[in-house]
Structure formats: C-alpha cells, structure tokens
C-alpha cells in the first residue's frame, strides 16, 4: 500500500470506537487507554517480528533503542525520531517534533487534553516492539505543544 491515509483514519476510528463503547458502561478513562495500548502492543510485536527478520543480533540495549528510533520509526511513521536521550540507567526519552498521529489534530495547545487518546496506541507499539526484542519496558508519552511529542521508555530490569 502506497498510502497512509487509510491508517490514519482507521486509527482515529479505533480510538473513537474504544471510547464510545465505554460510554454505556461504567468503565473509566484508564481502561480505555489500556485497551488501546494493548492493541498497539500486539501490532508492535508483529511489526518488529517482520522488520528484524534479516537483521543481525543487537549488541546492547542502546543498539536496540537506536533501531527503534531509526528503522522502526521510519517504517511506521515515515521519519526518524528527532532526538534520543538517556540517563544510561534504563530511561530513554524519544522526541518526535512532528508526530504523525497528532499532525492532523492541531498545531499548538488546542485539544491538548485529547492527546492521551491518540498516543496510547503508539505507546503500545513501542512497548510491543521492545518486548519482541526481549526488552521489558513501560512506555509513556507526553505532549506540551502539538504535534511535538516525547515518549519515555523505562526499561524493567528482570
């Protein structure tokens, strides 16, 4: 498929669906985020499996993170992560200045409160991709001005 419009529309439709289906029940916000995150997780796993089919073994954690920032991000969002930072103790911050899933929402602070909805799936993607490479993690995202976005990856030591 040469086009990403269907994916973007499908993604917002998925978000819509998850939130609408919860309205009737008494589920709260957190459950929806978890649901979306889990869907992303599964997709991230599948993608990573396909993507690393022919790549040599990774040297270390940092190498894996670089792979996420470059290849994985390029495949999913057609660009690389703009900035990767780490404290060398298992915390990584991935910054994307024009995050694809927020690009069509707003450029500024408008609709900022809606951003968690649209980031949960992506957090799951990253967590799933990492999990597929044997790295357990917690991934969260934060936005201060759309469409820039920071993902924080906390590696869980076994």
């Amino acid at each position: 498929m040469a086009d990403e419009a269907p994916f973007l529309l499908l993604h917002s439709e998925v978000v819509q669906y998850i939130y609408k289906s919860a309205e009737s029940g008494d589920t709260e916000n957190g459950r929806n985020i978890t649901k979306l995150e889990n869907m992303g997780f599964r997709v991230g796993q599948g993608l990573m499996e396909r993507l690393t089919k022919d790549t040599p073994r990774f040297k270390d954690e940092l190498d894996i993170m670089k792979f996420i920032c470059k290849d994985f991000w390029t495949c999913v969002f057609r660009k690389q992560i703009d900035n990767l930072r780490t404290n060398h103790q298992g915390i990584y911050v991935l910054q994307d200045n024009t995050f694809r899933l927020l690009g069509h929402l707003s450029a500024g602070k408008q609709y900022l409160e809606l951003s968690p909805k649209y980031l949960a799936f992506a957090c799951g993607l990253v967590r799933g991709a990492l999990c597929d490479l044997g790295v357990k993690s917690i991934v969260t995202a934060e936005v201060s001005i759309m469409p820039a976005c920071k993902f924080q990856v906390m590696i869980q030591k076994a």
């Binding site: 498929m1 289906s21 997709v43």
Partner: protein
Amino acid sequence: MSRQSNRTTDSKKMNSELFTLTYGALVTQLCKDYENDEEVNKQLDKMGYNIGVRLIEDFLARSNIGRCQDFRETADVIAKVAFKMYLGITPSVTNWSPAGDEFSLILENNPLVDFVELPDNHSTLIYSNLLCGVLRGSLEMVQMAVDVKFVQDTLRGDNVTEIRMKFIKRIEENLPAGDE
C-alpha cells in the same frame, strides 16, 4: 555500524503491514466485545462508513477526478484508481447486470487478510466488512446510494473474494431555499 548497510526494508510494504495488523487488532477487539459475528459485521461496516465519508475528500483532492458520468465509470475509478491508491491492488470489474446498475469487484489478494486465519467458531464473520462501509460512505458523499456486500470470501473457503455493488439511486441535493 555494519548493520545499516544490509537493511533493506521496503517502507511501503511495512506501511501496509501496519494497516493490516492494526485492522487485525481491531477485529480481535470487536470479537471480544460482541457476542455474535453479526454485531461485529455491523460495527465494522459502521466504522468503514465513517472512514469512507472522510476518505472521499482525500481521494477527490488528490486524484483530480471529477464527477462520474455513469455507474460504469464509477466502477472503473473505484477499481483502478481508488483501490490502487489506498490498498495497492487493482480488483477486476465483472458480472455486470444487464441494466448496468450492478457489478462485482474481484479481489485477487486482499491486503486486509494478509496474516489471517478464521477460527471455526467465527464462520459468519465477514472479516473485511470495513471495506463495504468505506465504499458505501464515500459514494454517498458523491450523491450515490449504493448497496455493498461481500458475496464470496477466500477466508471462508471461496475461490475468490467478491464484493457486489448495486446502485440504488442518485441522492438529490437538498439545497436550502434561495440558493443557486
């Protein structure tokens, strides 16, 4: 940095896999949420409709295609331009009804079902039903009421995947009094 050199991932291909897998995750979730397949089919159609009414704008803006003269032209545009653009496939158009108001799209390889196998207990699930909604929704936005449904599906053991489209009527534009 030796790894960089031997990586040859086709980003277009990956992008379609992203779509396929995301769609799969959605169907899985729907099957969990609803008890019977009929409900899932309905929900997929509804979501497809929502996508269709928005996708048509993207399509018209980018393809530079004007209003279709007849249903045959519509069929051609759908198969050769729209499907090509969004799913990377070109279905064949066949089985025209004598009146020219009904035809079939035959999908050789449906990208939505790339990694899919239906379990036995979902025999009535129309996995790609989203597509019907998309077609219906987008045509409605260009004043065509159309009935769309799957009549054959390789996932359910048929030889080909066939989408049947039937023209119902032209939707009259409801202009507010005094306009035009």
